[in-house]
Amino acid sequence: MDKKSRIFTLLVVILLLSTLVNAGGALLGIIDVAIKEGLKLVAKGWIVSTGWQVIDFYEKIFDSFPLLLTTNPPMSEITSGMFFFIKIIAPFYILAIVILALYILMASSSMRGRAKAKSMLTNLIIGLVLISLSPGVLKVFFIISENLANALISMGANAGISALKGASGGLYEKFWKLTLIHRTGGIELFAIHTTLLFGLTIMLLLRHVMVILFGMLLPLAFFLYLFYPTKHIGKGLFMQTFLWTFMPIAWILALVIIGTVIGSIPSYIPEFYILIAALFFFIGSPMMILGVGDWLAFLVFLFEVLQAAPLSIGAVVIDETMK
């Protein structure tokens, strides 16, 4: 605070003092109302600043975007889990081979049955190789996805990330302006905003968890894929590993596209809408690009986000009763 403003405040204080001492009731009343409004503004400012700190807290995830999207969990953590599942599979495997061998030796009388059993045996042996190679397979996945991600992220993903930040900033701006006018004016926007940011955080962290989970299950996936009855489960597990590993590619592609294209959108569309659409597009992009879900699932999600607003009404009732 510089000297000028200090003197100014001193003057104001003296003025107020003099008025307060000398004035009648009416002037006091006016000052009272003004201070009342000022205090209300302080209360609203408290709300806004608290909201801002939480939003800032969540927004820090944007800094970690490049890191979270380009890296995969280290193999050492996954391999221990993989070996655990391989250990579980091993006795079954031995059992399967022994039974097959016995079947070939003794039971199969028809040529056809024997051929089938033989092909099964070759399958088993291929599976043996695959299972023992499964850490390598996962490693290859990781290398491809990381290299692709690194190559793509340098093509302008930062512009996309700043667009997402801009969307968040736009929502916050609306929230604080409406809240400063009335206490409950923009609370629902805040609820939507934090839900979005929290959802974004959880999505990114959940990917790492899911990669570890399905990575550990990869030997099991190969094992199940070998037997006809459980073939589609093995395929499903394998697809899940694949999808969760390559999800960041879709995200980064979305970021790059947002960054490249956002400038070419005509300027008469308000920027805020473009940024919000970009945010939702980013959230929905894995479903859109990798075909995990479809447009409808994406919209159901959107609807659910919007539905978080009415839930805060319950809190209003509690607050009102405590007045």
Binding site: I313, V316, V317, E320, T321
Partner: protein, 412 residues
């Protein structure tokens, strides 16, 4: 079972009360007087005031006007805005219920008129748009026959495609009339259903409007009910104890220092009054948002779906020439099939609506009387679950039938 039990319990409690009162009469007559006074005095007072009001409505308005004029400004604002809310919501409910009971048949029966000037001209402009596509299709087919098809089988297939295309051309030119015929058919079927079950339809619409009104009553109850309750309790306490609340109120802030210090009824009444005065401010429209949402959902559920159906039928009506073209050209047959299916289904939603209305009416008529009362809310502000279910069936039924029939239709 449970119901019976509760009834039995109530009977028991009543019996106990009666016995108690009878017994007490033998002990002391004065106690009865007191109890009787407790019950009747406030009631009498309320009745008297109402009698007065009913006799002189002018005086009532004057009195309340005076009262209103003397109120604090904030309280005035509170009163105005709650009243405006209730009034506007009531107005909305009234207009919607009136409109729907008058016009439901019209809303269900309406279909776009393909022979209307604007629609017709648009369809014909689409037909013009189709000409290059026809030329393209014919040329490509011709080229196929001339150059590519070596087998007689493929050639015959191509030839049949050409004939199909030509049939399609004829159909495209008369497509508005074709659609008009189809719409008339569907309308007649719907009209038949509606006239056959006229009573049921009236009943179903009555259920719908009833729920709308009940929702409004609940809103009124939620806003003014607490106030009314507070009023009644205040009056009861006043009459019972002989202390006027307003008298207490005067000493309210200083009952610790003035002469009434330590006198327990004053303390109790002071506390009570504090609570009651808190209760009075609670006329918040914000807490009636669930009821408001119910009303709006009901409104959107019927009007929105009917309007959406109309618009979708219009959409596929405009696309009808394209539908025929796609259907008659083999590579795009699947697309045309989907378009045609959509047109049929969206048109049939009116039949579904009529069927659902009749079904709801039948169900409500067939329902045993004693089941109708089950619902939520405090009597008399209850919404029956059956009525609510009927409303939601009215909203979702046509859509469910739509989805169901889509699965049942043979793939084209």
């Amino acid at each position: 079972m449970q119901r019976e039990d509760s009834q039995r319990m109530w009977n028991k409690i009543l019996a106990i009360f009666i016995i108690l009162i009878l017994l007490s009469s033998s002990v002391s007559a004065s106690i009865i007087d007191t109890i009787w006074g407790l019950i009747t005095k406030p009631l009498k007072g309320v009745l008297k005031s109402w009698e007065h009001v009913l006799k002189n409505p002018k005086h009532f308005i004057k009195h309340w006007g005076k009262h209103f004029a003397h109120e604090e400004l904030e309280e005035k604002g509170e009163r105005i805005r709650t009243f405006a809310y209730v009034f506007l919501l009531g107005l909305f409910t009234w207009t919607v219920t009136k409109d729907i009971s008058e016009n439901i048949n019209r809303y269900i029966l309406i279909n776009p008129d393909p022979l209307h000037e604007g629609v017709k001209s648009t369809v014909y402009s689409f037909i013009h748009l189709l000409i290059p596509f026809y030329v393209l299709a014919l040329v490509s087919l011709g080229a196929y026959i001339l150059f590519l098809s070596t087998s007689p089988k493929g050639r015959s297939r191509a030839k049949s495609m050409v004939s199909k295309l030509i049939i399609g051309m004829i159909l495209v030119t008369i497509s508005p009339h074709l659609l008009n015929f189809f719409f008339t058919l569907s309308e007649n079927v719907t009209k038949n259903i509606l006239t056959q079950g006229e009573e049921e339809v009236t009943d179903a619409v009555g259920t719908y409007t009833g729920v709308m009104w009940k929702s409004w009553f609940l809103t009124v109850g939620a806003i003014y009910g607490v106030n009314a309750l507070g009023e009644i309790v205040t009056e009861t306490v006043t009459h019972a104890t002989g202390f006027s609340i307003s008298q207490i109120k005067k000493h309210h802030y200083s009952w610790g220092t003035r002469g009434m210090k330590g006198y327990w009824p004053v303390k109790v009444l002071g506390t009570l009054d504090k609570i009651l005065s808190k209760l009075k401010v609670e006329a918040e429209p914000g807490r009636t948002i669930p009821m408001l949402m119910l009303s709006i959902t009901l409104f959107i559920g019927v009007y929105g779906i009917l309007a959406f159906r109309y618009l979708m039928v219009m959409f596929f009506t405009l696309l009808f020439p394209f539908t025929i073209f796609f259907l008659c050209f083999d590579p795009t047959k699947k697309l045309g099939g989907t378009l045609l299916e959509q047109l049929l289904l969206w048109t049939f939603v009116q039949e579904f609506y009529a069927i659902i209305l009749v079904a709801i009416g039948t169900g409500m008529i067939m329902l045993p009387e004693d089941l109708l009362g089950y619902g939520f809310g405090i009597w008399p502000l209850t919404i029956s679950f059956f009525d609510l279910a009927a409303c939601f069936t009215l909203m979702l039924g046509p859509i469910i039938l739509f989805m169901l029939l889509r699965k049942l239709l043979p793939p084209l």
